[in-house]
């Protein structure tokens, strides 16, 4: 459904963040993108919705070539790609409800957006989503009054109310505690399964990625060095992605966690 074709990004400084990345994501597949800081993970997902314009190569979403679209058509295609951010990126001074409804901005006109008169069916959907993530009682709170985990849930609602076909998720758990991280990852993966969404999740926590996703892509210096199932990640492959390190502890820990999880 999503296809990246020799996607390349060279920044003005001359840093080559992506080197001809080619990737196929079938509909409904959740994949994790792992790799060291600076490997180009954030650049990759921002090139897909063109928050960062790619230098060359092609991005195709359901047979639409995103890279060649004009401004108006790009906005229409962005509606089909929900994005979830590391630091939540909620509009802090707006209410939870306004933040969720801002996911519908691509569908409503300027005056409706300015006067906050969204169609009733959007408002219904917003309430339904907030209920789904357990934040219905927070709808009227200002976003800056929420805790990190709650904010990320609002961020998830904002992405989902777009009715997307694809979720672009940038380090969703990097600023969260371990328990909340798992809850957020579980929530994202459950919602993707419920709605048949594909998702690309940038993540630092290898163990967490292995726990939840079906496919892992390892990125190093802008190139894909691993593409396979999570249990194919051996110390050797992690060495290749991140560089020399003792990985036994990381991998063993996952197994323990998994059994602990199963015992709960």
């Amino acid at each position: 459904m999503l296809r990246l074709d020799a996607l390349t990004k060279t920044y003005k400084t001359g840093d080559q963040a992506l080197k001809a990345v080619t990737l196929d994501v079938p509909a409904g597949q959740v994949l994790a993108l792992i790799g060291p800081s600076g490997a180009g993970k954030s650049t990759l997902i921002r090139c897909i919705n063109r928050l960062v314009p790619p230098t060359s190569g092609k991005v195709t979403l359901a047979d639409v070539d995103i890279t060649s679209l004009g401004a108006g058509a790009l906005r229409r295609e962005r509606r089909r790609m929900g994005m979830i951010f590391q630091e939540y990126a909620l509009v802090e001074r707006l209410t939870v409800m306004e933040n969720v409804l801002s996911g519908r901005l691509g569908y409503v006109g300027f005056w409706r957006a300015l006067t906050r008169r969204f169609p009733q069916k959007d408002v219904d959907e917003a309430f339904r989503l907030l209920d789904r993530v357990g934040l219905l009682h927070m709808a009227d709170k200002r976003a800056d009054q929420l805790s990190g985990g709650q904010r990320q849930r609002v961020g998830i609602c904002r992405a989902l109310i777009q009715d997307p076909a694809l979720l672009l998720v940038d380090e969703p758990t990097a600023s969260l505690d371990p328990k909340t991280s798992r809850q957020i990852m579980r929530l994202i993966c459950e919602l993707c399964a419920e709605r048949g969404l594909a998702a690309i999740i940038n993540i630092h926590d290898v163990a967490l990625a292995q726990m939840f996703v079906a496919r892992v892509i390892g990125l190093r210096f802008g190139e894909i060095v691993y593409d396979g199932p999570p249990d194919g990640l051996t110390p050797e492959t992690l060495n290749e992605i991140y560089g020399e390190e003792d990985w036994e502890a990381t991998i063993e820990k996952i197994d323990e966690d998994d059994t602990a999880e199963a015992a709960e």
């Binding site: 906005r75 962005r78 990126a89 909620l90 519908r104 901005l105 300015l114 904002r158």
Partner: protein, 271 residues
């Protein structure tokens, strides 16, 4: 940060000997210049007037007290004019300053090469000319009165408001803007959802702050004939009616104190 090795171990000083000497000479030079300037000013001063100043001041103070309270009846209307000049002038300035600020801010300007310099030029030009001078110019163009005062205050405030506002726009959290853009929002929607909520506190603070300054500025606009309480002040000064002058100064002081109080309250409520 020199460290001197001695038999007792390393000794630390903030500056080494050379730097210390340089600082001493610097101070010596500064004091010498100060004394020389003092000498120059002293030569150019008619000291008789200075020695006489306390007597004159005491004399004027004696004539000015008690204030002529009955004159207050003539002041209600001018002070109301002064308030209106400040308030309407500030509103006018804000209406013009908002678009200019968006054109001047690096992250919202449509063109860094052409439009931004023009916006910055407007900001500098309106800021650099005092409101009294604007009033003089405008009285020549649209005649004396309150309207000239309002326009003078408005023009003078554009630069101030636009400058502070565009700095606030440049300091916003860009990730919130990115998130709104990613939903497929249009340029204007991004502005309304991603930028405006972030700059609202700054905007409100700037508005009240400038209003507070404008109350003070508009009290003197009457000196050049642009309406308000300054007109009465000038008339009283010209006729040496010191009891009236002291009353007017008291009224201005009261107006400024009240406006300070209001703006402090409003800013406190916002932040």
């Amino acid at each position: 940060m020199p460290v001197i090795e001695s038999s007792q171990g390393p000794i630390w000083r903030l500056r080494n000997r050379n730097e210390t000497l340089k600082r001493w000479f610097g101070w010596l030079f500064g004091v010498a210049i100060f004394l020389w300037c003092w000498q120059q000013i002293s030569d150019a001063t008619t000291w008789f007037f200075v020695w006489d100043a306390p007597n004159i001041a005491g004399d004027i103070l004696g004539r000015a007290t008690p204030p002529r309270w009955s004159y207050m009846d003539n002041l209600w209307w001018p002070i109301w004019d002064t308030l209106n000049i400040a308030t309407l002038g500030t509103i006018g300035a804000l209406i013009l300053a908002v678009p200019i600020a968006f054109l001047a801010a690096r992250n919202t300007t449509p063109s860094t090469l052409f439009i931004r310099p023009i916006a910055l030029l407007i900001i500098v030009a309106t800021r650099s000319i005092n409101s009294l001078i604007w009033a003089l110019l405008l009285i020549a163009i649209i005649g004396p009165g309150v309207f000239a005062g309002i326009i003078a205050i408005a023009i003078r405030s554009i630069g101030f408001c636009a400058k502070l506002l565009y700095e606030a726009i440049e300091e916003i959290d860009q990730s919130q803007v990115e998130a709104v853009t990613a939903t497929g929002a249009s340029r204007w929607q991004v502005m309304v959802y991603g930028i405006v909520p972030q700059i609202m506190p700054a905007f409100a603070g700037i508005a009240v702050f400038r209003w507070d300054i404008n109350i003070r500025e508009s009290t003197v606009l009457g000196l050049v004939g642009a309406g308000g309480i300054g007109l009465q002040l000038q008339a009283s000064l010209n006729t040496l009616a010191w009891p009236q002058v002291s009353l007017i100064l008291l009224v201005i002081l009261a107006a400024v104190v009240i406006s300070e109080w209001v703006s402090a309250k409003v800013r406190g409520a916002i932040i």
